[in-house]
Every structure is written in C-alpha cells, then in structure tokens.
Symmetry: C2
Subunit: 376 residues, 2 copies
C-alpha cells in the first residue's frame, strides 16, 4: 500500500505503486494475473473517470488482455472487491486475481466532496436534508449514550487508542498521538462528535494478490470467512446496531467455523469514534451496550485481549474509501508476518476485518466482514 | 426492461419497473434473490449517487439483507454484471441472482455529460485532447474505408437496418425508420460520421434473473458462453480491430464449444454505424475487411442469414450505458420465446450478445461477449 494522506500524485501513480508492491511481495508476474477487481467509490466524481479505470491504471504494471472491472459499494468498495475476487478464486473461475483499491479525495473541491459524500446516503432523501455521515453518527452516539450510559470520554478513548497505534504506522495519514483532552477540546462537528472523533479525508491505494496456489516465499494469509450484506432495513432492531454488519459477520463466522471468541484482533470501520463502539457490539466482541466498558478497560488497546485497529484505523491511518478495505488486509499480512513493528499484536493468528458503506434509512447500508488466518 | 428514451422518472423508478418485471417473469419472489449485481456507468456523476445505489434502489421491490454491489465497466457495465452474476451462480456461490442495469443520461447538463463521457476514455490523455467516442470512431471509419474500401453508404446502411428493426420494438427509444438519404443528409458530427450514424443518449433500465435452478413456467435461456476482457493494447493488430472483442469472443465461443458459424443472430455494440461493421469482423461473422459487403448483401438484416441487432441496437433501441448489456439479454429472451413480433428472427436458438466499453490507446478498452441458447 502507499502511504495514506494528502498525495499530489494522480490516481494512476498511486495504483501503480500499490499494485507493483503487491505483485513483488507475492512473487507473481503481471502475466500470471487472470483478472483485476478494482475498487473505488468516488473515482467517477473526483477523477472525472467513470469507466475503464482499471484498464487505464494498470497498463503501467503490464496487465492487459484480462477481465478487469470496477466494484463500487461506497466505503465498503475495497472489501467488496476482495470478496468478489476471493469467491472467483475459491470457486475455480480464476487462479490468481489482483485486487486494487484506490481513492483520491483531498484535492476535490469542498462542493464536489460534499456531493460525493452525499452520494453515500440515499441522495434523494437523507442526502438532500443534510443527514450526512457526521450528523447521522452524532444521532447514533446520542442514542448510545442514552440507552447504554456510554460516555463522551469512552468515545474519545477510541481516538486516543487509534492515534497511539497510527503513530507507529509509517503508512498512516496522521502519525501523531492525541490526548483525551485534545479530543474533548477539538472543534465541534456535530454534537456530541468533535473534530478528533472523525476520520480524516485521505488519498491512497492498496493492493493484494488473491491466489488459490501456494504463495511466494513470504507467508500468505488465508481467507477463512467472507461475508457481505446490505441492511435488512425494516428489521433493524435498534438505532445503535447495524443489521448489515450482523448479517455479514454471521456469514463470515459461519464459513470460518469460528465465533467472535476466536478472533485475536481486528480492523474495524472507525469512521467516527462512536462507530467503533457500535461495531464491537455488532461483531459480538461484547454484549449490546457494553462497548463503552470494553474500550474503558483497555481490552481493545494494543496490549489488551482483543486489539482493535492496530494500524490506526480509519481514524489515524486514514480513509481513502476504495482503498480502506484492502489496506486492512495489508495490515493483517504485516501483523501475521510479525512485521508490524511498534504496533505488533501479541497473537496475530486470527484477524477480523470489517468495513461498512453508506447510510440508508437510519443504518449502515452495506457491510463486509472477512476472517483472515495464518496458513495451516 | 423499461421503454428506453427520455424518461423523466428518477433512476429508482426505472429500476423498480425493470426489476419487478424480471421477478414476475421469472416467477421468483424477492426473498429468493441471493444477491444483486447492479450495473451503472455514470450514476456517480449524473445522479450524484456513488455508493449504496442497489440498496437504495431495490428496497422498493423488497430486496434487503443480501449482498448487493455496483459493477462499473463503462459501456460494458451491464454485460460485465451479467458475467459476474453468471459465474457466481454457475460456481454455486449463489442460486439466484438479480442483475439490473440502469442509467439516466438525458437530463444531465451538457458539460456534465461531456465530462461523464470523457471518463470513458483515458481522461488524462485521450479525454483531455478531445478524443472522445465520435472523433475516435470517425478515425476508425476513415481507416476502414482506406484499408478495405468500405463505403460511406455501407456504414449508413447499418443505421437504415437498425432503425427498421427498432421501429418494430415498442421498448425502443427511436421507433422510426430512416432512409439512406436521411442518414447521408443528416448533420455532420465528426467526418465521415453524421448524426444518424450515432446512437442516441437515452435513459432506461433492464433486469434479468440468473438462476441455477429450473425457471418458472416461461422458457428461460441458457448462458452457454461468457467472456469478458480488456484490450491487449500493445498487441492490437490494427486500428480497425479491437483485441478486447476478439479475446472476449474467443473465451465465449470456446466455453460454449461453438464457433461464429453456429451463431444464428446477434446483438452487437453499434454505438456508431462503423462500430457494427468492425464487430462483424472481430466476432468472426466475416473475414477482416469484408463487413461492408456483409451489410450490403443484407446478410445481417432481419431476413438475412445472420440478423444483427433485431432490437434496433444501440442506434435505435437506445443506449443507457449500464442498461444496454442487460437489455440485449431481454431481447434474446423475447426472440427465443417467439415474442419479438414484427422483428422476430427466423431461428433464435443461438444468440451472441456483445458490448464494448471505453477507449484507451486507440482501441476499445473492454469487451464482453455472451452466447445465449435455448434450454436443451
């Protein structure tokens, strides 16, 4: 993956960097790639490029004459591309697939960016009335506080934890620790959320090679479970639970024949601090309502029993939409190989990675969960 | 499928109409749908909606809690979604998948539309210098004329043929015959192409149900071969042949264990009249350079030995980008059932459907070919 952050290079150069590194690491030649799944949520808007993006972007790494397509599923685009590639390989359609996620966001004008982000809601309803992500997650936060006694400080601790991790990640957008006081003193965004509760706007690309065969000399990881779903809107049990995450997690756990108790660490979609707490509950890391206590106890810190977002998460590593889900897998691979340096988790053997995308009718619209394990 | 044309309804209503009709025709309940593959090339731009589109659009037909994603592959988006859905069903990942293609184009402002279409080229190179589709296909036409003696009249005959067919298609955008004189007298666009050499800008949606099981009471069709590819740019043998089409066709023919000689009729990507001639050659309906004679002889007319674009094609039925590849399958189903009324082909048993997408480095960037046959 490229370093995430404000990157002046055009999208194609970020893609070239990430794709070349993935091919090199996997010891795969470009002619061995049977297909390319490219993930980008906003490329049609921010890069004025809707269509033929993979073909345009990947000529530089020598891939042509192969099926390529773009997958778009809002902020879960990268994870969805991973799922599609995984199933195509698992079922024997292809032997080796390149998955690339990329996004350029920082150079979009503010009107363009607002339009793009409004598109991740139901643009004709939520989008038009201004119910964009910060406003939506602010309401979720208030509800969680009221229903479960979650505190402002508990939310802020998610930011403190993830920045502490991201400060040790040389690919992170914001490699800087923040204190509880700094989070609670940061500019208001949408009450109770403040600036340091929100993930940054980032550029970046990430790539992985998915193959059925033996990997190169370096240890690969195994996709043990894969689940993608959309919300079952009418059956959403509460405003503080996303049914899409629960559905996707159940699919992934069931396929991997594992439960939440088996997960040793995770990367989850902390677009806002409250979101990470919500996901603890929906991914069954704790009981509904208990997420505030989980962060409070330090269970999800680097040295805790279930480290969450050792990469820094969306909050500190950054969130170039299409790249995010793929970058989580890159982090998992680094952790598995014991190469995560200052942010290494104690037991990297069973990882869960999770993204959500969009907001429709008061909940996350899509979610993707993968369980990644070391090779047997 | 909806009628194609200038449709004032929002995208969601077009999608609702097409998806409902497909479910009804297939006698499938919305709860039986295991996944949704949604195709749209420009939705991120023209509808200000990048992300969660299927989830937003398909709640109205009662589909939720299922994996949904958007596939984008320029003008081949619909065919690419079909291919992804087909392989997911064939390999047992899903039993029943809904494929929906949709596009709203007529209400885009001209600047917005130009930006969107420029995105189907390499926007940083071809797009910026104005090498959009009409200019590109004009150069291809000139080259075909020079290399093979193809005449202006032969190109115009593609328009005459396809409008004659489309005039008999109640779902077509332009249900009107045109004469050779009208084509040759129409406004210049990019020499030698004139207005009536170009497909219109259309709105519309189309949907099909792909299933591994027995269909409903109405005869289904069988996907016998599926091929999607991108251009092998550096090896493109000539300016008048698209390697992506040749690669995709070879994949589809080989999988179906058929050759071009077995194809009884076809729907091909006639975005411009010259394009249809080019495709005759790349799909091996005739030798390179012989396409002009093929149209001249009437071989591809409704009563000919290999009718092409009985629906009217992009030229007359219309070309709402994401919907086009799906609408070709709807036409194939109607033909197979003998319900194509005044445009019925004599032998609908083996159909080839073909789309291309984008222009990169002087050729079509992506192509998709499917062979559709009657059930055994």
């Amino acid at each position: 993956m490229t370093r995430f952050g404000a990157r002046p290079e055009p999208l194609r150069e970020l893609v070239h960097e990430a794709a070349s590194e993935a091919l090199r690491d996997a010891e795969v030649e470009s002619r061995e790639i049977d297909a390319v799944y490219f993930a980008s949520a906003l490329a049609g808007i921010t890069d004025e490029q809707a269509g033929v993006l993979p073909a345009v972007l990947l000529r530089t790494v020598g891939i042509a004459g192969r099926p390529m397509l773009r997958i778009e599923n809002a902020c879960a685009s990268g994870s969805t591309a991973l799922a599609e590639a995984f199933w195509a390989v698992r079922n024997g359609r292809y032997r080796t697939v390149l998955v690339v996620g990329a996004e350029k966001m920082t150079q979009a004008g503010s009107a363009q960016a607002a339009k793009a982000m409004a598109g991740s809601t139901d643009a004709e309803f939520e989008g038009r009335v201004g119910l964009l992500a910060p406003a939506f997650f602010a309401m979720v936060a208030r509800r969680h506080m009221q229903e479960h006694g979650t505190t402002r400080e508990q939310m802020a601790k998610v930011a403190v934890k993830n920045h502490a991790n991201g400060a040790k990640n040389p690919k992170a957008h914001i490699q800087r620790e923040v204190t509880l006081e700094q989070v609670l003193g940061s500019a208001p965004v949408s009450d109770p959320l403040q600036l340091l509760d929100c993930c940054p706007v980032s550029d970046g690309a990430a790539a992985v090679v998915v193959t059925a065969g033996p990997g190169g000399r370096r240890p690969p990881l195994v996709v043990a479970g894969s689940g993608v779903s959309t919300a079952a809107f009418s059956s959403n049990p509460s405003m503080t639970s996303f049914s899409a995450t629960r559905l996707a997690a159940n699919l992934a756990y069931s396929m991997a024949e594992l439960t939440a108790r088996d997960v040793r660490w995770a990367e989850v979609h902390d677009c806002f601090t409250i979101a990470e707490l919500l996901h603890y509950e929906d991914l069954q890391f704790c009981d509904p309502g208990a997420a505030g206590r989980l962060i409070e106890e330090g269970a999800t810190s680097l040295g805790g029993r279930l480290p969450v977002n050792p990469s820094g998460g969306l909050k500190s590593r950054g969130h170039p939409l299409g790249a995010t889900g793929v970058a989580q897998v890159v982090e998992a691979l680094g952790q598995l190989r014991g190469e995560a340096f200052g942010r290494q988790v104690a037991d990297p053997s069973v990882a869960l990675v999770h993204t959500i995308g969009g907001i429709v009718r008061g909940e996350g619209a899509v979610a993707a969960v993968h369980i990644l394990t070391e090779a047997a």
